[in-house]
């Protein structure tokens, strides 16, 4: 690999941009394709397929046999609510290599004592979220039960096209949430993207079990998006 390609690759990754290295393994000929340029590339069908799955692989293409090295950003998890479930969800997500951030303006909840190893931002979502540059490689979970905190965060997560969006609350709570979001102009298609009640139906009772159900649903959204409606 040419050093300039390697340097550009590392820079793209540091900026959380998707990127593919196309290598002709016979000749060693190589090029870098930015994720945003994939749709304009001669190998676009192959590039898009691999960017979507996030997996590297060998392909027989009109340009010959090429290896596509796919780099998509490591997933992040942003949570509103420094609540009991979050105390279990944050370490679980870290174990799965997620970079975790919790946002909760209620300083009694958002204390470092309750979250010794997690980045906690004790600010309102309107202030805390934009600098996080949430993207489609981010999962978002709304866990406060408080519409003043969860609603603006959900709207933000939808606008940023997070790969997973979930919201805590019963069906009744969610129905009221849907009404509020619609009143703010959120479309039906966007509302349908919200997993609510949050988590896979595994009969979870304790906060840790609910965290498992959420983490499983996030994993399914990442790895088998077609399986999670």
């Amino acid at each position: 690999m040419r050093l300039d390609i390697l340097t550009a690759l590392n820079a793209e990754r540091a900026a959380r941009h998707a990127v593919v290295i196309v290598t002709e393994t016979q000749s060693g000929k190589q090029r870098l394709v930015k994720g945003e340029d994939a749709a304009r590339d001669p190998l676009k069908e192959f590039l898009i397929k691999h960017l979507r799955s996030g997996k590297s692989g060998m392909e027989e293409t009109p340009e010959g046999r090429v290896f596509l090295t796919v780099h998509v950003p490591p997933p992040r998890l942003v949570i509103t609510g420094a609540v009991h479930i979050s105390q279990a969800l944050a370490p679980m997500a870290r174990m799965l290599n997620y970079d975790v951030t919790i946002v909760d303006p209620r300083t009694a909840f958002a204390s470092p004592e309750r979250f010794p190893d997690t980045k906690v931002i004790a600010q309102w979502p309107d202030t805390a979220l934009p600098p996080l540059k949430i993207d489609r490689y981010t999962a978002f979970a709304a866990l406060t039960h408080d519409p003043k905190i969860d609603d603006p965060a959900l709207t933000h997560a939808l606008a940023r096209d997070c790969f997973y969006i979930g919201a805590l609350g019963s069906k009744k709570t969610h129905a009221r949430r849907v009404e509020r979001l619609k009143a703010q102009g959120v479309s039906d298609a966007q509302i349908a993207r919200i997993h609510a009640p949050i988590g896979l139906a595994i009969g979870a009772v304790s906060p840790s079990e609910i965290a498992v159900s959420i983490m499983a649903q996030i994993t399914a959204s990442l790895r088998q998006p077609e399986s999670v409606s």
């Binding site: 393994t25 060693g28 870290r94």
Partner: protein
């Protein structure tokens, strides 16, 4: 996240490859490009090797790294990329094989 956890990730192996080369070291990069059966590391896994035989990362979880490092020395010397194959069906199995029964192909290229 601790430093050791960070080092275990492929992205940091590529950063190491860049840093090592910029320090003037000879560097080769090995990548798992194909796997069949049960393979210990997924397609895309990286190993970075320098001209002294130091390496970081893994392409097989330890089974064939020694052989890859040896081949990487040739790649560093002549600059030509190589594709290596390892597996139990292979003649080299007794020297460097995968105990898990899988087969892997590893692409080794010079960084320059």
């Amino acid at each position: 996240m601790t430093d050791t956890q960070m080092l275990a990730r492929d992205e940091d192996i590529l950063k190491a490859a860049e840093d090592w080369r910029k320090l003037g070291r000879d560097v080769a990069l090995a990548t798992v490009v194909e796997t069949w059966g049960s393979a210990p590391r997924p397609v895309g896994a990286n190993l970075v090797i320098d001209g002294e035989g130091n390496f970081l990362g893994s392409v097989s979880g330890g089974c064939v790294e020694g052989a890859v490092v040896t081949e990487a020395m040739d790649v560093i010397a002549d600059g030509k990329p190589k594709t290596l194959e390892f597996g139990v069906a292979d003649e080299t199995a007794w020297k460097a094989g995968l105990s898990c029964g899988g087969t892997i192909r590893v692409y080794v290229e010079k960084v320059d």
